[in-house]
Amino acid sequence: MNIPNASTAPSTGEYAGDEISAIVLDPGYSTTRAGFAGEDVPKSVCPSFYGQVDSDGGPRLLFGENAIHNPLGNLHIKNPWGSDGIVEDWETATKVWEYTVTSRLTGTKPGDPAKNGLNESNGDAMEVDIEGLENLEKPLADSPLLMTEPGWNPTKAREKCIEIAMEEWGTPAFFLHKTGVLAAFASGKASGIIIDVGASHTSVTPVLDGMVLKKGVQKSPLAGNFVSNQIRLIFKQNDIPLTPHYMVSSKTQVDAGAPAQAAYKTFDIPPSDSFRRHEEERVLTEFKESVVEVWPGPGRFSNGTNEEIAKAQPGRPFEMPDGWNQVFGAERFKVAEALFDPGAALTDAESSRPKDEHCIPSLIQAALAHVDQDQRPLLLGNIVVTGGSTLLYKFTERLSYEVNAAYPSTRNKLIAPGPVVERKYAAWIGGSILASLGSFHQLWISKKEYEEHGVNIVEKRCR
């Protein structure tokens, strides 16, 4: 007998839970998340990047973490996503997503709960099979699918999503929901303004009662990838060599700042540039995780004596895969500063100065300006922070400072879940909650409805 307390899960009756083993799929630029609704974290997190090997029999596609980090010759790493958060290459995107779902969740053949050893086989096995027969080759014939989409997803893309789910995957029921709303749900909020800083883009989504206020949705390309580029620039400026892991066979310790002394691997057919770039990205993510810091305020990093204060703080060491290492002082504040202050961005010939309206404070202001006045204080009281790049050290402090500076007279509250998973996978978690609710049953778009109304039903139903 468990006495209910703050940490025990509520009973399903309390929150109208009723799991129907739906699958929640949350595709992103850097990773694609999938898992069964009702679970805490996505069971399957696969990179959205895929490998393409040009061989004699046409291009061969490789999916999954293991495949794309394997330094094969002629391996090109690609991403089906466009830079604006909309899928460009639908054909491969479908495959990436399908791989994410089938590799860990349903298995290559539709999963049969009666045969996976967890349940004794009995009469039910038959029933399932009989029903599933017609769709047997379809990967999702058994599971309703909830997919996420960015707030500005065009109608074309949405229709494509339902088409893929229904036609190619054979899902019995489908629904499409905005990442912003779901991230808010994951924090237990139905209304709020959601700040999602992912890999390819940053978005600000005002949500009211579980519905996106479309006019207020703002996005900008200043996100994780942008920060990576800033790091590359700073490395270039300071002549810091960036050697990815796969090139190093062994390394020896060297003093800080001293050239690396490592043995490098040689390849008969060297992997492509895109492969190298993707591998470098891993190092950069490591760098982001362990070194980069956001100037927490007050004021911008360039303001007054802030830089001096930053210099006085102890630095953070970083060691490259080849053994090169250094302690990073005030530079570590510079790379992420442009998220808040475009003027501080490092620029070179390829990367120009980002636009003023793309920095996060401007996005928030623009978003709020497009929302009915009466809702603004409510939204500012529920600022949900999500996305992998918000994990940058001191990001929330700075954000909080900027919001309070812009809106001094309202009660602004940042909701930034502490656990890394909850921050990174908020949209998926929200979807998991939603799709496991009994009250959601009536919202699914069923196959029958799809066949009756065609693809544009998604516009009518998933608002």
């Binding site: 007998m1 083993s21 039910d124 029903e131 206020l213 929302v371 007279s409 029958k448």
Partner: protein, 619 residues
């Protein structure tokens, strides 16, 4: 190693083995009566000494987690297909459910076979039907639209679109406004068809000249929707028939002013967009204000204290006269009374109400020099009031609307004890006399108010009180009216008589004059004693003038016979001061009633008056 003997020696215990034995035997004996406390370590229990603590520190069997109970073999679960009743397309989903228990006679295998042979059972789930909420929207027909709801600014097309949006987004105006995407281009093509449809060219023409892009503000949309709602509401339920809630809603709908709303919003956004400095300044000012308020409270209290001090105790002649005045026993008695009184006052205050507000306010009342009982105030009292802590934190006052919402009511005076709302209502039904009570009951019944009102909240009580008051007035009016009628009757009879008499000759003139006189006297009496019951009047008429009765017989008092028991005591309830005005109204009512209703007077008057009164209630 010290042997037991050495130890015993050291402790000065007797060495003999016999004693040792007894000690050994004794120990369990001692331990036996002390109940072993469960869940507490033996060492800790030992610290309790002879007597366990009065409150068990932890008596429960130590169990952080209940032992897993063996409930037999593992329960079977099945993926149960089900349909949701909220869906119309019969989508079959599956959820995990306990497998229904097999028949006890069947063995495992047979149930398994059963499962295989059975038609797949599909559960029809209504569990979550309650979440499928439909909202009620005002609806209108084409005729209604054409007759009442037209607008120069909104085409029918767009109005329908707006209504659809409101329905889709469940009155979430912010979202409706956000998603509002009415495309007049669409409209243009449709307006071409429209005249053909409803044959109304003016309508189509009216919608054509608009420039295609039309941005609507939330206020525009709200104004349109509320306007239509109000009009429809009025069409469905005439204004006079709405009940209080409906009328309140109607009132709200008609009073919506988009301009005001827009101004409010711009003010709100101005408030929100203040700069940091302004906000700081406001904060500072607020803090300052609070400080001043606090100081003012304290200052007021101090000043009041000072005033109380300065205002010399009511000059007590006896005191003024010095001790000499207390020589007589009478004077001593008076002094004793006074002191006793003071003492009682003190006690009352000390023992009385709760510590914070009520006692303080009572104190305040006594403490203010203007209050009534100040003659009894003594220095002791004042000292006590001085000892009161500085003024309490300001009591939060609620706006009337908030009070209404949270159902908070303030009372000047609270009666002690508990009283039932239903009792209050019952009391209101009772007048001083039986007859009046019955009349009130009859009137209430006629209004369709049941004897027992289900939830006698204070608000219901208030309304009921008003109603009963009105019924009382109504009854008065009716009474007066009947009296007037009686007079009229008498006068008419007199007139008829006189005509007859004049025609017949002068022989019976005297008798006629007598009759007249008596009638006149009667009526004069009636005028003078307004409180007198009308029925008494009528009775008098009947008694005093048997001949006039014959003509006035059609009045018959059939409907009015609830009044027929002419008891004068009814009149007690009446308010003397209200008589003249009442009379005026009663005349008006009675003449109107006579002119149009004739015989069915009481009923019609009642219904008229009641509709009037209920109208008043609503307004």
């Amino acid at each position: 190693m010290a042997s037991g003997r050495d130890v015993r020696d050291m402790l000065g215990l007797p060495v003999s083995g016999e004693v040792q034995k007894t000690v050994v035997q004794k120990r369990p004996k001692l331990a036996a009566p002390a109940r072993r406390i469960q869940g507490v370590a033996r060492e800790v229990a030992a610290l309790y000494g002879e007597r366990p603590p009065p409150v068990a520190v932890y008596e429960e069997k130590k169990s952080y987690r209940a032992k897993r109970q063996n409930t037999g073999p593992a329960k079977r679960w099945v993926q149960q297909p089900f349909t949701n009743q909220a869906r119309t397309d019969g989508l079959v989903l599956k959820h995990w459910r306990r497998k229904p228990a097999p028949q006890p006679t069947n063995s495992e295998d047979t149930t398994m076979e059963d499962g295989e042979n059975k038609e797949p059972y599909i559960e029809n789930s209504s569990e979550f039907l309650k979440y499928n909420i439909q909202l009620d929207m005002p609806t209108f027909t084409d005729e209604e639209y054409d007759a009442h709801l037209r607008s120069d600014d909104w085409s029918r097309e767009e109005t329908d679109h707006l209504f659809q949006m409101i329905k889709d987004y469940s009155y979430r105006w912010a979202i409706i406004w956000d998603r509002y995407d009415y495309r007049p281009s669409n409209n243009n093509t449709l307006t071409v068809q429209e005249p053909a449809q409803d044959g109304d060219s003016s309508h189509a023409l009216a919608s054509l000249p608009f420039p295609p892009p039309k941005t609507r503000t939330v206020e525009d949309m709200k104004a349109r929707f509320y306007e239509i709602s109000a009009k429809l509401m009025k069409l469905r339920i005439p204004e006079v028939e709405m009940d209080a809630d409906q009328y309140a809603r109607y009132d709200m709908l008609t009073k919506f002013d988009p301009l005001l709303e827009r101004n409010r919003k711009s003010l709100a956004s101005a408030l929100m967009n203040r700069s940091m400095d302004e906000v700081k300044e406001e904060e500072f000012l607020l803090a300052e204000l609070q400080r001043i308020n606090m100081a003012a409270n304290r200052l007021d209290a101090e000043r009041a204290e000072l005033r109380a001090r300065l205002e010399a105790p009511i000059p007590n002649q006896q005191v003024a006269a010095g001790l000499q005045s207390f020589t007589s026993s009478q004077a001593l008695q008076a002094l004793f009374q006074q002191l006793f009184q003071q003492d009682r006052n003190n006690k009352k205050r000390a023992s009385g109400t709760g510590p914070a507000r009520l006692s303080l306010s009572a104190n305040d009342i006594i403490g203010t020099p203007t209050s009534a009982g100040h003659s009894l105030m003594s220095a002791a009292n004042r000292r006590q009031s001085m000892a009161q802590p500085p003024p309490p934190t300001p009591i939060r006052t609620l706006a009337p609307q908030e009070e209404y919402r949270f159902n908070v009511s303030t009372h000047d005076r609270l009666t002690s004890g508990v009283s039932f709302g239903s009792d209050k209502l019952l009391k209101m039904r009772q007048a001083k006399s039986n007859v009046q009570t019955q009349k009130i009951a009859a009137a209430l019944q006629q209004l369709g108010i049941s004897d027992i009102i289900a939830i006698p909240t204070s608000r219901v009580g208030e309304v009921f009180e008003q109603l009963v008051g009105k019924v009382g007035k109504l009854l008065d009016v009716r009474k007066v009216r009947e009296k007037e009628e009686g007079e009229c009757r008498v006068l008419e009879a007199m007139k008829a008589k006189r005509d007859g008499v004049e025609g017949a000759g002068h022989a019976e003139r005297n008798g006629g004059e007598n009759g007249e006189q008596s009638v006149l006297q009667d009526s004069r009496e009636g005028h003078e004693e307004e409180d007198e019951d009308v029925d008494a009047d009528a009775d008098e008429d009947a008694d005093g003038e048997p001949d006039a009765d014959g003509e006035a017989d059609d009045d018959a008092d059939g409907e009015a016979d609830e009044d027929a028991e002419g008891e004068d005591e009814d009149a007690e309830g009446e308010d003397e001061s209200g008589v003249p005005s009442r009379r005026g109204t009663s005349e008006a009512v009675s003449t109107r009633a006579m002119s149009n209703a004739g015989h069915k007077r009481s009923a019609s008057v009642l219904s008229q008056a009641s509709s009037k009164s209920s109208k008043r209630v609503r307004k």
